[in-house]
């Protein structure tokens, strides 16, 4: 039975449970619905929950565990000749067994032992599925019986149903925490494995990044260098170019929009500017690589400068354009939050509009704007596609915006794309970089959110 069939059967049973429970409640009230504690539908829902939820939980538990249980049983039944193999080889054999069982192509000519193992695997899965179906059905029926028995006019069905819904709501809100925990744990776990191979000091302060590690011991250039400083500087270089573009443009357009623009202009220009924020980053990357980079190179060459074909400048400028709406909408909010009385006071003293903005509004809005800019910086640091497509792969330790530099996100992406094995320092280093990226952006975000919030409270 497939997953969808399981779920469909369960849905049908729950639906039936709903109607059974509802009609039973109506009957038990003896025609006077006011005798019931809750509205009849709640009795239906009560039964449906008893039918559906236990079986669903079992189903989720089983789908989560089935793979490893069955694998373990097949593994222990492998012939003794295979027992001496290394874990990696056993894993390869397991993959072949899976492929054989599903009729896919295998990496080797199947020998009889493998075929029997595959048969074994297939039969175990079959038994597992059958048993699951039987147990789920039994659970659903038991739930139906139990819940239906309990229905009587005094049953507080609504409260019970609401309790379950409340638990569901709480679980859903916990997903955010779970996600954060998952991110932190997965990054930490893999990064610690990386740091057992490469010392954290070398990683954080080393000046050389070339993560190519040898597959054979005698290979040329066999030991990779994992000094991430060139990546940090590259990231900072591109992010600062982006901020140089985004902050003045974003801030000035926010000022114009909130202080000068007539409502009509504001109403039409604002959504158009927001299109910039909605364009996928891969599109910006394509634009940066195909239009901006050659343009920068041609201009540079006509000025007699040597510009590499993948310059930090091109990637940074395009990233800056991407961030403009982010900066402008954040500053717009904050400028609008400055109370009108401050402006009126300034006008009353005879200041012009621009003087008011520069000397009253902006200083008042400054902390909020700084917070917004910090958020934008964290965005620029974490941006991937533009730099993957338009910045270089070679990690140069350079502050020249016309050079090709590489960034943290570029390295993460290139290290983990394609097939990898997860015990080499090369792939694990991506998680070390990910940890740094996460920590830095998290720190920036926390500071920025604090600053923005604190500022906003002032005029409330």
């Amino acid at each position: 039975m497939s997953v969808s069939l399981f779920l469909a059967v369960l849905a049908v049973l729950s639906f039936a449970g709903f109607h059974l429970g509802r009609s039973r409640a109506v009957v038990s009230a003896g025609g006077r619905l006011s005798r019931l504690h809750s509205v009849p539908s709640y009795y239906g829902l009560y039964v449906a929950m008893w039918v559906g939820l236990p079986a669903l939980m079992l189903f989720a538990l089983w789908t989560g565990l089935e793979g490893s249980i069955v694998d373990g049983m097949v593994r222990s039944s492998l012939p003794a000749a295979m027992a001496g193999l290394s874990p990696q080889e056993i894993n390869l054999i397991m993959v072949d067994i899976h492929n054989l069982a599903y009729g896919n192509i295998t990496s080797r000519v199947p020998d009889p032992a493998l075929l029997t193992a595959a048969e074994h695997y297939k039969s175990l899965r079959g038994i597992g599925n059958g048993a699951l179906a039987v147990v789920m059905l039994a659970l659903a029926c038991a739930g139906l019986y139990y819940a239906r028995q309990r229905i009587e006019p005094g049953l507080r069905a609504r409260n019970q149903v609401e309790k379950v819904v409340n638990i569901f709501l709480i679980l859903c809100s916990l997903v955010a925490i779970l996600t954060t925990v998952g991110i932190v744990l997965s990054l930490l776990f893999e990064a610690i494995r990386f740091f057992t191979k490469v010392s954290p000091a070398e990683f954080l302060f080393g000046l050389q990044w070339s993560p190519q590690t040898a597959i054979r011991a005698d290979q040329v250039a066999s030991d990779g260098a994992f000094g991430a400083v060139p990546l940090f500087t590259g990231t900072l270089l591109i992010a600062s170019i982006a901020m140089v573009v985004a902050v003045p443009l974003g801030l000035m357009s926010a000022i114009y929009m909130s202080e000068y623009a007539p409502p009509k202009v504001r109403g039409s220009v604002k959504p158009v500017l927001e299109i910039l924020a909605g364009i996928p980053t891969v599109v910006y990357g394509f634009f940066a690589a195909l239009t901006m980079a050659p343009f920068v190179r041609d201009v540079g060459q006509s000025l007699g400068l040597s510009v590499s074909s993948e310059s930090a400048l091109a990637a940074g400028v395009v990233m800056g354009v991407m961030i403009i709406p982010f900066v402008s909408s954040l500053s717009d909010d904050i400028i609008n939050a400055v109370p009108q009385s401050l402006r009126d006071g300034s006008y009353g003293l005879g200041a012009t509009k621009s003087e008011t903005i520069r000397q009253v509004v902006l200083p008042a809005a400054l902390p909020g704007i700084v917070g917004g800019v910090l958020l934008a910086v964290s965005r620029a640091i974490g941006e991937t596609m533009i730099v993957v497509m338009a910045a270089g792969l070679a990690a140069n330790l350079s502050a020249n915006p016309l050079d090709a530099v590489s960034t943290v996100t570029v390295q993460i992406a290139t290290l983990l794309v394609g097939d990898q094995e997860f015990d080499s320092a090369k792939t694990l280093s991506a998680f070390g970089l990910g940890l740094v990226l996460f920590t830095v952006t998290l720190g920036l975000n926390i500071i920025a959110l604090r600053v923005v919030q604190k500022y906003r409270e002032k005029y409330d």
């Binding site: 989560g64 793979g67 609401e162 409340n166 569901f168 709501l169 859903c172 809100s173 916990l174 955010a176 996600t179 954060t180 991110i183 997965s186 990054l187 801030l251 000035m252 357009s253 000022i255 114009y256 929009m257 000068y260 500017l273 299109i275 910039l276 909605g278 364009i279 996928p280 980053t281 891969v282 599109v283 394509f286 634009f287 195909l290 239009t291 354009v321 403009i324 709406p325 012009t352 509009k353 621009s354 003087e355 520069r358 964290s378 965005r379 640091i381 991937t384 596609m385 993957v388 992406a413 983990l416 794309v417 997860f422 998680f431 990910g434 990226l437 952006t441 998290l442 975000n445 959110l449």
Partner: protein, 436 residues
């Protein structure tokens, strides 16, 4: 009769030259400042215009394609010598030869082997598959003659579109003078037809630009978004409702709030690392599959949905809740019967914005292996699949001239989807918005 009246008044401070010079300067500064603002908006809008213009100008040509219209003889001796109509025989036949013979028939004067090979290189590799498909679909074609539009190899398509310059020296371009002469003869014979490029929408990915299409990417994006929708909407709405309507003010809910705000600003690639480490390595879920992609994108878009959902719930006036509570509804009934329906349009906008974000996202999907070269259209949530933005990324990396055009066209398709989604969001908001 006092001194004050009779004393000549000193010149008012605003009448001095000094003052008017200062005033002039201040007004000039005012005008300049306003101009800076307009210039900033102008630059931003100009960048948007340049971006869109460069994509459209590079990509619009990909929607049309030149085909080679050839009179194909479905030669029974070539396809099915025994006349058994056995599907295996039919599928193994040499269809490339049919196309080659048809093209050589147009150029009887081409004699030497080398020339013939260069001539037949103008037919795309995909032509044989297209012919095979026609015969497999309708075996009665065997033995007949029919004019068929076959894909022209990309370089010649680019030549006819003017993307390859005829006037540069022969050594600097991919097409020889002789081949240009052949193409010109085909054009004057009427063997080249220019039509809508159906292959762009009906084919999967291919290494040959003239055959590469978006179908696999579109279907993959659709499946991935379906998973994202299925997870993000119920979880997002439930979380927003809990936090806004039921949650007590305590450490736990504070923690949840801080977490949601922070998650909204975590770089997307970190979500990819999460997917790789947890879903692929720890839980052994299938690589490159829409399920995993959908889950990762759902986790990524959840903060957006929750934050906008809470804003929408907050906008529902308390009087509604109080009235419902007053007639005896339970808190949950208040929410499900009154608050949620009223907040739904606002929540919907947040959901659509989140979905648009998910549709355009690339980096986390690269991490979970959705970058695999996929020709077949995925048929389920566990199949290896690719999505539109990843396909754009892969095509952008391809060196062939034909792929530049295709990439731009794919971007236009993606933007069209995004604009459609946003338009729906705007319409829905307009339709259901209620002012209190």
């Amino acid at each position: 009769m006092t001194d004050i009246i009779s004393t000549p008044r000193a010149a008012a401070p605003y009448q001095t030259d000094d003052f008017s010079a200062r005033l002039k300067k201040r007004y000039a500064a005012e005008r300049r400042f306003k101009l800076y603002g307009m210039a900033a908006i102008g630059v931003a809008l100009a960048m948007l215009a340049v971006l869109l213009a460069s994509i459209v100008s590079q990509g619009y040509t990909a929607f049309a394609q030149h085909d080679l219209a050839l009179e194909i003889h479905f030669d029974p001796a070539e396809i099915d010598p025994q006349g058994t109509r056995d599907p295996d025989t039919l599928s193994d036949a040499n269809y490339a030869a049919l196309a080659r013979n048809a093209l050589l028939a147009v150029f009887p004067e081409v004699e030497s082997r080398a020339d013939r090979r260069r001539l037949t290189a103008m037919i795309s590799n995909g032509a044989a598959f297209e012919l095979r498909q026609m015969v497999m679909d309708d075996p009665s074609l065997i033995g007949t003659r029919k004019s068929v539009n076959l894909a022209l190899a990309s370089d010649y398509d680019q030549l006819l579109k003017g993307n390859i310059d005829r006037h540069v020296p022969e050594t600097d371009r991919k097409v020889t003078d002789q081949q240009i002469a052949w193409i010109d003869k085909l054009v004057s014979n009427g063997n080249i037809v220019n039509g809508f490029n159906w292959r762009l929408f009906l084919n999967g990915d291919s290494r040959d630009p003239e055959l590469a299409g978006l179908k696999a990417g579109i279907v993959g994006s659709f499946l991935t978004l379906l998973v994202t929708l299925g997870l993000a909407i119920p979880i997002g709405i439930a979380a927003a409702v809990y936090l806004e309507e039921f949650a007590p003010q305590n450490k736990l809910t504070d923690l949840i709030e801080v977490n949601i705000n922070n998650l909204a600003a975590v770089p997307s690639i970190v979500f990819g690392l999460l997917g790789l480490a947890v879903f692929l390595n720890a839980l052994n879920m299938p690589r490159s599959a829409p399920v995993v992609g959908g889950i990762v994108l759902a986790l990524m878009t959840l903060p957006t949905i929750i934050i906008s959902g809470r804003a929408a719930l907050k906008a529902v006036p308390p009087s509604i809740r109080e009235a419902a509570l007053g007639v005896g509804a339970s808190p949950l009934q208040v929410v499900t019967h009154h608050v949620l329906p009223l907040a739904m349009p606002g929540m919907l906008t947040g959901i659509i914005i989140g979905m648009a974000q998910a549709l355009g996202e690339t980096a986390p999907l690269l991490m979970i292996g959705m970058i695999a070269f996929i020709v077949d259209t995925p048929s389920g949530f566990g199949d290896a699949a690719t999505v539109l933005p990843v396909q754009i990324f892969m095509w952008a990396d391809s060196p062939e001239r034909g792929f530049v055009e295709r990439t731009s066209a794919a971007i236009m398709v993606l933007l069209a989807f995004l604009i459609a989604m946003n338009a729906i969001a705007v319409v829905l908001r307009k339709q259901f918005e209620r002012r209190w």
